[in-house]
Point group: C2
Chain length 193, copies 2
Amino acid sequence: MLAYAGDMVEKKSDRTRAAILAAARERFGADGYERATIRAIAADAAIDPAMVMRYYGSKEKLFAAAAEFDIRLPDFGDVPLESLGEVLARHFLERWEADDSLRVLLRTAVTNEVAVERMRGIFAAQLAPTLRVQAVDQPDVRAGLVASQVLGFALCRYILGFPPIATMPDDEVVAWLGPTLARYLTAPAPSQV
Amino acid sequence: MLAYAGDMVEKKSDRTRAAILAAARERFGADGYERATIRAIAADAAIDPAMVMRYYGSKEKLFAAAAEFDIRLPDFGDVPLESLGEVLARHFLERWEADDSLRVLLRTAVTNEVAVERMRGIFAAQLAPTLRVQAVDQPDVRAGLVASQVLGFALCRYILGFPPIATMPDDEVVAWLGPTLARYLTAPAPSQV
DNA sequence: CTTGAAAGTCAACAGGTGTTGACAAAGGGA
DNA sequence: TCCCTTTGTCAACACCTGTTGACTTTCAAG
């Protein structure tokens, strides 16, 4: 079957597999989970809808595959807390512009529980531990606040397309959001009543 | 037909009309536009699905009616700019907890263009002019930034249910978000490159 | 009571959905 | 060459969707 046993040979099916995944990401990101139909995804990938089922089993599994990507945060252990806000703002902005995986997640998280869990994995399960390393108090709360601003900005910029936000230059975004995130990371927690 | 001509008498149909609208708001808010089916809404209202069509014409028109509500911001003309952030934070928090209309809008805005436009009406078309009264520079940008933080927080709290954000006491929310909004309203705009 | 409009019920339509299974074309190993 | 795995195609399934039209019930005005 394969040229050399034990070698990693790309089979013909891998190409269509990848084509399906690419089309799925685009459709899920553009239309959301419910409106992105398997037939439309298959049409974009120029294959038969039955192939999608053969390779991914079901729509849910296809979505799970499309929403799976490496979101490992870089090691911020040596970044001083005061500048971490700006660093985070720039990092998320770059990630968001780079590929549409995050957009897929944001658009689908509103109705799809899998997407919510994966989104939570980024902030609660990745950012919070990073903050813990920096010995911040209430890391979960601070990670949640960072998430609220980052996701809210992404929502306005990429999904809703609010005019001044969607067209704002990257440097200006960092200049606005950086201090906000920095405050969420460094400001003393408000005294609770 | 009616007791007194010219009198405003509540017909029997008005009660079912209202029941449909209430059920629609709940379903749209809980499931989003696509997953909220007319049959489910009708079942909640304990009426026939055909009645929904008779009274609202179509699903889109029903949604438009469900997403229509008074979101007029109070007059913030005499609130000093420095405390406007905290006032805005508390105001939006109260509005969001009060009725689920805003939640309907947020959940559906991701896939429904009507909801996006209505959401924009709140921030761009209402908040920005209010800021203009206060003679702030770049009112549209600042209104957009406020929207990004308010919507992002609502997203994490009511839609995604991120643990520390969803359970945060109201006063603490205001303490965290107030200064952020205040900075978006008062801080000098970052110099653009 | 009679009449007729309003309010509600029922069954069906046309179209779209995810999903399945039977079948046909490659395409290389023996 | 034959054979068998892989890859792809086709048509259909069962179900659900918004929407429609014909029908019956309710009920107050005449």
